[in-house]
């Protein structure tokens, strides 16, 4: 198991950088260096996309494992929202949530969320997390009991988590990937799989 895992890791996630959608930096933006909008959203407005990009980067920064932006979490969220939102003038709950969160950033720091530094973003995250209702446990894919709405912050966090963990790079190179286990072993040391989860 360890050997196979090591083998998978040789395919470094950095090679996955080519996955990034073709960028339009410079065409759209004059200040590309500071502006996180180096991708072309299909659903979000440029300001919303800047927010989502900053949100994903704050939640899932690049470390010795890929960050959310490295595996295009932001692009995937844009795609999911685009597919699932009927065209129209009314802002979706997601768009309304972004607007409100950004308003909070401006009230507290005088800047949009994406313009804040890491610690300022972190303070807003902690404040939002403390207010956000939690998910009920699930049984066979459905929440048990009454699930109160979890609000914008946790909804987006949940979507980002899903997008991150279900990406090919994380699923095959960072997590333990075994599409055909062949057997079930009900008790193994967590150490034996490097302390990480199975991806499937």
């Amino acid at each position: 198991m360890m050997n196979r895992r090591a083998l998978l890791r040789q395919a470094s996630w950095l090679a996955g950088a080519t996955l990034t959608a073709p960028t339009l930096v410079g065409l759209l933006q004059s200040c590309a260096r500071e502006d996180p909008l180096d991708w072309e959203p299909q659903y979000f407005t440029p300001d919303e996309a800047r927010f989502v990009t900053a949100y994903v980067d704050t939640l899932l920064p690049r470390t010795d494992t890929p960050g959310g932006l490295d595996v295009n979490v932001h692009v995937f969220i844009d795609r999911v929202m685009g597919v699932n939102s009927p065209a129209g003038d009314t802002p979706s709950p997601m768009q309304a949530g972004i607007l409100e969160f950004d308003d909070g950033a401006r009230t507290k720091y005088g800047k949009a969320f994406y313009e804040l530094d890491e610690s300022q973003r972190g303070e807003l995250f902690i404040a939002a997390e403390n207010l956000a209702p939690r998910y009920q446990p699930q049984v066979w894919g459905t929440a048990v009991g009454e699930q109160p709405p979890v609000g914008f912050y946790r909804s987006l966090k949940s979507m980002a988590q899903w997008a991150y963990l279900s990406s090919e790079t994380i699923g095959t190179e960072v997590l333990n990937y075994d599409p055909v286990p062949g057997a079930y072993n009900g008790c193994i040391p967590l150490d034996s799989v490097g302390g990480r989860s199975w991806s499937l």
Binding site: T58, L59, L60, P61, T63, T65, G67, F76, R79, V80, V83, P86, E118, G122, F125, E129, R134, Y135, Q136, P137, V139, W140, G141, T142, V144, G145, K157, S158, Q161, A163, Y164, L165, S166, S167, E168, I170, G171, T172, V174, L175, D178, P179, V180, P181, G182, A183, Y184, N185, G186, C187, I188, P189, L190, D191, V193, G195, R196, S197, W198, L200
Partner: protein, 565 residues
């Protein structure tokens, strides 16, 4: 796979017709063909050939558009059945189109349908338990419904017969209320499940926690491969490791050379000859062309699902049967049952943080019924009882707090161990729970549809209250923390165990079928799907459909040979 009889002119006469190809239809086809009958299987949907037609069987989340999420168009196509929570991009193609196949919810009712070769045998939960005499005697003992015309001894050898072919994994326990099957080796419990088992059985005398008994092969069996622990069953299994019509019974039927499958064939009605006093065949609407064709046979098996077969019978009117085939009793369409669903408790288990598991086991644990099994366990609040399914695993990262580097690293690690149990309660047969033909709402083929008018009664609510109370108490005494008791108050249908709408019984005045699943007043018509059930037990019913079907097919051929039908 099989001979497809798409050119309808060639042959309209067979020895036997089987309507439907799910769990029970597949068995009917296998048994009748193996006994030498030229058999026509009518399937209202398309052909799904084993392995070849499982397009999502090997897809990882990132291989699917939206990582397996549905588009608004797909959700609309399944706007009713999506309530189940079980439909994703990986299985969407095995669920019927709710827009083309409307039904009316007089009271809320979830009707999950699968219109293709194999039917719901592709999608089923695969939990397999025998009924016992506690079940077969239940109606007679407490006066609800009518008495089953059979007892455990009548069906026991047929359970063994179908289990030997299907392959049921599990461990014997010797409980009278849950007779042991003919088992392949059991699947393994994980460390937390073993821990909970030990504590629970010590704390609660008379309660047992066992590995689920299921129609998954733990060793190669009858030419099918063993489970590879991928837990992608409902997409179709390339190894044929779980029992489905496509992997098991239909290939066996095909091997006889006696099988013809006609896809895209909606059984509109059973034809009945008033002068001869016998059913003569089945009228089919070709779902592609709209053409109507009458097929003839000496024996007809209805296996279109409980409500599907009932709909066909209600639609089969003649001078003799003005209110539907075999409906002298007025019970056809009545006594609809299901099992209650998603009531239980979930909690967190400490002390196993350094432990994990490998493989994705398509099975959980089971706690057999312990209420009303003897004098000591009698309840004064309800009759009958319930069993629990459940399991333990490390899944709980949904509410992971924080953000940034530490949060991300934690997200990549297994969450805390959680353990849950969820009850399945027996449902009584109430005459008032019924389906009727609805002329006002027509399907895509201009056929009348079903109106479903059913709801849980006082006994089911009392059982559900007990389920939740017991579930919380068990998890507390086992030592879990952060226990959440739940009752999702799902309407009927969520159990996906529709039963009882053409029940078996001893008396033609109060039942539709006899002890061999023959329509009392049309003896060459057999109904062996969920419609036949006289009571619902609290265990998953499919194994019983298999056994009753094999038994009925044996009887049918015997009666044919004696020229009694």
């Amino acid at each position: 796979m099989a001979n497809f009889n798409i050119d309808a002119d060639k042959s309209v006469t067979y020895d036997a017709i089987v309507v439907g190809s799910g769990i029970s239809g597949g068995w009917a086809a296998k048994e009748l063909t193996e006994k030498g009958l030229r058999t026509l299987v009518l399937e209202r949907g398309r052909i799904v050939e084993h392995v070849k037609d499982y397009p999502t069987m090997n897809l990882d989340p990132w291989d699917m558009d939206l990582r397996g999420g549905l588009t608004p168009e797909e959700r609309d196509k399944h706007y009713k059945s999506i309530r189940s929570g079980f439909i994703g991009k990986d299985t969407e193609h095995f669920h019927a189109n709710d827009r083309e196949n409307p039904y009316t919810e007089v009271k809320p009712f979830l009707w999950i349908r699968a219109h293709q070769l194999g039917g719901r045998s592709i999608l089923w939960g695969k939990q397999t338990y025998r009924l016992s005499d506690l079940d077969f005697e239940a109606n007679a003992r407490d006066g609800h419904g009518v008495d089953w015309p059979i007892r455990y001894r009548d069906i026991a050898p047929w359970y063994t017969y179908v289990e030997k072919f299907a392959g049921i994994s599990g461990a014997p326990l010797g409980l009278p209320q849950l007779p042991d099957s003919h088992f392949l080796p059991p699947m393994e419990m994980n460390c937390v499940e073993k821990h909970v088992k030990a504590r629970l059985e010590k704390e609660f005398a008379g309660r047992h926690l066992i590995i689920g008994r299921c129609a998954h092969l733990t060793v190669p069996h009858n030419g099918r491969g063993k489970c590879q622990y991928r837990n992608r069953c409902s997409r179709g299994c390339p190894y044929g490791a779980y029992f489905s019509s496509n992997a098991a019974t239909l290939p066996a039927a095909h091997a006889t050379g006696k099988l013809t499958i006609r896809p895209f064939s909606i059984a509109q009605s059973v034809r009945y000859d008033d002068t001869k006093g016998t059913a003569t065949g089945v009228r089919v609407i070709d779902s592609e062309t709209g053409e109507t064709v009458d097929y003839k046979a000496k024996v007809i098996f209805l296996n279109a699902s409980a409500l599907g077969s009932t709909q066909i019978m209600l639609n089969s009117t003649s001078k003799r049967f003005e209110n539907g085939l075999g409906n002298d009793s007025g019970e056809l369409g009545h006594n609809l049952m299901d099992h209650t669903y998603r009531i239980g408790a979930v909690g967190t288990v400490d002390g196993f943080e350094d432990k994990y598991y490998s493989g994705r086991r398509p099975n959980g644990i089971y706690i057999p019924r312990y209420w009303n099994v003897d004098e000591q366990s009698r309840s004064d609040k309800f009759v009958r009882g319930f069993g629990f399914q459940g399991g333990g695993g490390r899944t709980g990262n949904n509410n992971l707090e924080g953000h940034g580097a530490d949060y991300k690293e934690k997200l990549l690690q297994p969450g805390p161990w959680e353990f849950f149990i969820t009850g399945f309660a027996e449902c009584l047969p109430y005459h008032s729970n019924k389906v009727t033909l609805n002329d006002a709402v027509r399907d895509k083929w201009d056929q009348p549809t079903l109106a479903i008018d059913a709801e849980w009664g006082a006994n089911e609510h009392a059982l559900n209250d007990q389920i939740q109370e017991d579930a919380v108490e068990m998890l507390e005494r086992v030592g879990l923390r952060d226990i959440v008791g739940f009752n999702n108050r799902h309407e009927m249908g969520y159990g996906i165990h529709e039963m009882g709408t053409a029940r078996m019984g001893r008396d033609p005045k109060t039942s539709v079928l006899n002890a061999f699943n023959q329509v009392h007043a049309a003896r060459n018509v057999f109904v062996t799907d969920g419609a036949c059930m006289t009571s619902s037990s609290c265990v998953n019913p499919s194994l019983t459909y298999m056994a009753l079907t094999a038994r009925a097919a044996d009887h049918a051929v015997s009666e044919l040979n004696k020229r009694n039908i």
